[in-house]
């Protein structure tokens, strides 16, 4: 597996997990720390060979807590560092993610969602939308969250995750699901397309010939903390203005707009096309960034469309963000599957017919 995944303009057939791992290597990831968990163990497997071959750092950590804290330490030196995990184990990392947001460290976390809550199961799920976008750590923080829907996007958005994490000095999550992790599609590994971000003004690289620096998550006075939070949230606002990304098809004249991210968005797209053939005015909006969420665009569309249908593999989590954006201007319905493969195209078409009164 590892031998064929070099930089190439030729397509190779590979799994989402291997695609993510190989893209991380090509993005210049210098350190990988991780602890295995299904359905993302291939990422650690790939890294265990490739990182050592390239004389980069790979540590099979003793726990998820250790892994994420190793990433924190490595990122404090300005290194490109990452970990990868899944649902119940990402839950263990929440404290460190809050610290990383507070310390403004560019950590990259790949979260390949499986069934939950608790130990759950290893079937695909999107039950950690809230975990990623709202967060389970303490305090007022935000992580950048990118959601691939194809194996090619697993590559492209891994590149982007490293870039955005370093550009904004902010923890960044690549949020995939178990289906994408295990799915194989032909992909192309192009050159890492982003510039390297200068971190010479903050990274802890040794204080020779310059004053020492401290990175810490501690503001002893109320004034300090107010000032810090305002600064942090000004950064989040900037991220919202600059980095919100989504795919939008056939929304201009749509009566119903499907909103879906990740693997269910593929079926939503096919269902939308089927419905167009039937003469139903259906569009699709697929958020690619979940934070920042395309709220502004959804609010605009809510002025002229009748209904939104959120298609998710959970009990309905993204639907809250859609409702907030819609703000009562249109109806918002849910088509979900609690866990497992996405709702089928036929199920989505049925739901659309029902909602259009056909």
């Amino acid at each position: 597996m590892t031998e064929c995944l070099t930089k190439t303009s030729k397509k190779v057939l590979t799994k989402g997990n291997y695609a993510i791992a190989n893209a991380a290597v090509l993005a210049g990831c210098e350190c990988y720390f991780g602890y295995p968990i299904t359905p993302q163990s291939e990422i650690g497997e790939f890294m265990s060979g490739k990182m050592q071959e390239l004389k980069r750092a790979y540590v099979s950590a003793e726990s998820e807590l250790a892994a994420i804290n190793m990433v924190l330490g490595a990122c404090a030196t300005g290194a490109k560092a990452m970990t990868s995990s899944s649902s119940c184990a990402v839950a263990l990392m929440q404290e460190a993610l809050s610290y990383a947001a507070s310390d403004e460290l560019p950590i990259v976390l790949v979260s390949v969602m499986r069934g939950g809550p608790g130990l759950g199961n290893i079937y695909p799920s999107q039950g950690d939308y809230n975990q990623a976008t709202i967060g389970g750590g303490n305090g007022d923080y935000k992580m950048i969250v990118l959601a691939p829907a194809t194996v090619q996007e697993c590559v492209d958005l891994t590149y982007k995750a490293f870039y955005l994490a370093h550009k904004y000095k902010n923890p960044t999550v690549l949020l995939a699901d178990g289906l994408l992790g295990q799915m194989m599609e032909p992909v192309e590994f192009k050159e890492y397309p982003y510039p390297e971000v200068d971190n010479s003004d903050w990274a802890l690289t040794g204080a020779k010939n310059r004053p020492g620096r401290i990175i810490r998550s501690y503001a002893p006075s109320a004034d300090n903390q107010c000032e810090f939070l305002n600064k942090l949230h000004a950064k989040y606002k900037l991220i919202e203005e600059n980095e919100t990304e989504w795919e939008e098809i056939n929304t201009e004249d749509a009566d119903i707009i499907l909103v879906s991210f990740g693997s269910p968005a593929r079926n939503a797209k096919s269902a939308m096309k089927e419905c167009r053939k039937l003469g139903l005015k259906v569009g699709l909006l697929r958020p690619i960034t979940l934070f920042p969420f395309p709220s502004k665009r959804i609010a605009e569309l809510a002025e002229k469309t009748k209904k939104f249908i959120s298609v998710e593999i959970n009990m309905g989590q993204m639907i809250r963000d859609i409702k907030l954006a819609v703000n009562g201007k249109a109806q918002v319905e849910l088509l979900n599957r609690p866990v497992g493969n996405p709702p089928s195209v036929e199920e989505i078409v049925e739901k659309i017919k029902k909602e259009s009164g056909v």
Binding site: L13, Y123, L179, M183, V345
Partner: protein, 183 residues
């Protein structure tokens, strides 16, 4: 055009690998293709399957299809489970060494072929998956023997390349199997 396939059998029969070779062939043919496995707590002796979706529309395929164009069932459990999923006018191709030849649906095409027996005659029953892939590919008319051989070469890792000639032989036996029994 979009066509989908399910390859199913016992864990250990090589159904995921056969699917990967087929997906690889479609990639070599410049088609869009998606492969995904049934993914639970699978084990040797249990049932396992993978689905392959190919299209030439240039767009991403949907997944978790309600119906299937071509199903290859390598054991009885897979045959029973997936028979209702065959699309009207679609194909159920079954390993008659392990599957009872019974046609309970009249709206689909059946093809029974003793693939395990043929693989045994070739000298290695582990060739069942690749031999049956040959049959499946021939019936589907969606890729060529030549492409499948290249795909096999792509998929086999370096330390298994010694098995390539035997696999190619198995593939050819399947691909050239007499389909005259097919109506």
């Amino acid at each position: 055009m979009e066509k989908n396939f399910i390859i199913a059998g016992f864990g250990g029969q090589g159904v995921l690998l056969a699917g990967e070779v087929l997906a690889n062939a479609f990639m070599l043919d410049d088609k869009n293709v998606t492969w995904y496995p049934s993914y639970g707590a699978e084990m040797r002796g249990g049932t396992v399957n993978c689905e392959i979706v190919m299209n030439d529309s240039g767009d991403v395929s949907s997944v978790n299809k309600a119906e299937t164009d071509f199903i290859l069932a390598l054991n009885q459990a897979s045959f029973d489970r997936f028979l209702p999923k065959v699309k009207k006018g679609g194909w159920m191709i079954a390993n008659s060494t392990l599957v009872e030849e019974k046609k309970s649906r009249d709206d689909i095409n059946y093809f029974f072929v003793p693939v395990t027996k043929l693989a045994d005659e070739l000298g290695n029953s582990k060739m069942t998956n690749i031999l049956s892939l040959g049959v499946l590919a021939k019936i589907s008319k969606l890729t060529s023997l030549d492409t499948l051989e290249k795909a096999l070469d792509n998929v086999l890792p370096a330390h298994r390349k010694n098995l390539l000639p035997l696999n190619c032989k198995a593939l050819k036996i399947g691909y050239e199997y007499d389909l005259s029994a097919v109506k």
